[in-house]
Symmetry: C2
Subunit: 321 residues, 2 copies
């Protein structure tokens, strides 16, 4: 059993290379560019952790982990095009650096490269792994579509938002851990518990992300405070405020959607305070975190084997950046 940090180093040691040919230069340099600007590699490393819960680490786990990280970066490239995002991890996005058309294609070839890694694993795992990968890939696209659909709407119900977030961000973490478990030889029940662990942990993480957008230390969080507010994002906090506000407060919130600048952020935060959003979000995060830990407890392996996943979960929940 290895700690997250150790597995992260093992993952990087084989992932930090060029994954693409050198020609056409534009195309493949664009694909390689996003891989080199970093990232925490949480998802691929949980593939390795899922494997190690049940058996020694097998080489196929690295292939699946690579596929997961390539898929994740494919989705970031395409999301950034759709969101017209200028920056990612503090540097220009792929489409800002290489143009939208090349970025689109660079994402496409990266998705194909992910399947090439999946096509290299032991045939006995191929069908279940590719099946879960495909379902997850479609769900991530569905989540992105719902997110865009919600931007055009005035109101979004809480359960709709949870569904969108689950698809857009949680299922990939859930599937990563389950894929590792499949490679470790886990039975169906254990696989499902680990999937539920990853899914609920992912939702808790998103609640925290929405919270930090409003209440995080911008120095540590690395993002502008109120970025979601300025972008009229329907976050957990926005939806809770809308659901618990008085009529007058609701009207003010609708008015605030139409203005911009720091006054928009300040007045929205004041309304969030009046609706008790901060404490509510902390509670909600805790609820999903507990669900995640309960699912992890259900996994039928020696509890000592689960320590590293538990540590990772707690670490992700303490983040302020």
């Amino acid at each position: 059993m290895h700690a997250f940090q150790e597995l992260s180093e093992k993952f990087d040691a084989q992932f930090n290379k060029r994954h693409f040919p050198h020609s056409p230069k534009n195309l493949y340099d664009a694909s390689q560019y996003i891989l080199q600007i970093g990232g925490k590699r949480v998802r691929p490393v949980t593939v390795l952790m899922g494997n190690e819960l049940f058996s020694d680490l097998i080489p196929d786990a690295y292939s699946v982990a690579n596929a997961i990280e390539l898929f994740h970066n494919f989705s970031l490239i395409h999301d950034d095009i759709m969101d017209k995002a200028p920056l990612r991890r503090g540097v220009p996005t792929v489409h800002m650096s290489f143009g939208e058309s090349t970025a689109l294609l660079a994402g496409d070839v990266m998705l194909v490269a992910a399947y090439e890694y999946l096509n290299s694993i032991d045939p006995i795992y191929m069908r279940p792994i590719i099946s879960l990968f495909n379902r997850t890939a479609k769900e991530v696209c569905e989540g992105q579509q719902l997110d865009m659909d919600f931007e055009k709407r005035d109101t979004v119900r809480m359960e709709e938002y949870v569904e969108m977030i689950t698809l857009k961000t949680s299922v990939l973490l859930a599937a990563s851990i389950q894929m590792g478990a499949i490679l470790g030889g886990a039975g169906g029940g254990n696989q499902q518990h680990l999937y539920a662990f990853g899914k609920n942990l992912g939702i808790a993480f998103q609640v925290q992300d929405d919270y930090l957008d409003c209440y995080g230390d911008p120095e540590k969080f690395g993002k502008q405070v109120g970025g979601d507010i300025l972008a009229n994002k329907k976050t957990f906090l926005f939806i809770h405020a809308m659901e618990s506000a008085t009529e007058a407060q609701k009207n003010e919130m609708q008015e605030l959607l139409k203005i911009s600048g720091s006054a928009k952020v300040q007045r929205t935060l004041a309304l969030y305070d009046a609706c008790g959003c901060a404490a509510w979000a902390k509670d909600l995060k805790e609820t999903y975190f507990k669900k995640a830990m309960e699912s992890l407890e259900e996994v039928a392996v020696l509890s000592s084997r689960k320590t590293e996943l538990e540590k990772l979960a707690r670490f992700l929940m303490q983040r302020d950046s």
Copy 2:
């Protein structure tokens, strides 16, 4: 052994259905939209024909054919975004009907759906089929990138253009026939001959396409005459003209790249005539067609089994629309 038309009807009978869930509606309606505006389905039907060269048609051939057609439509959606094309097969493109972001995602989920069909076939064929599919998918993206790169250049050498066209349009036809052959149990040599057949046929088809843009009957061809000229496309004819023109003619061609309208088309066509482009293109098409037929002859099966593929090849070469 079935004729193209019969196999086309068999293909349609199982392909003409909804391939996607109903929600999120925007996303999956966009994916379904392009499938419903038709197309000749040449590529998927050649999967079935490749299979039938060597054995009775097996159900997996339909799964692979479906994957090929979904991949082809994925690439059309994304190409149309990149080319800012307003129309496809006479109706608005996906991004014009559903917006660029949804079109981008609709392409993505279609590519994933293609892999889902591939993941359903007999495990003994999965690795070679997915491997060929992945290589081809990357090559199609590379071809599109080269095409975009060439648009920004003043000159393109003939061998560069042939390489781009091979990647962008020919390898998918070649791979389709080879995949059918794999499913039919063909040996490596026969597979390679069929791949070469498809590749050279694809190039001959593109020579014809470039020719028809200048000399086709617009009523039958269904496109505006000189569309490539107006778009400054470096076609077979443009490159031949540049390579065989006098210095004065070359200068005029460079000047013509800077103007627009019907004068641009008329004067470019006059230069093509002066360079003998029409007869040259007919010869070149014939050269690639002969190469294709020679490769087909090399395939070691009873020649009577090859009749339908030969007929299809001749039919594709007679097209004036």
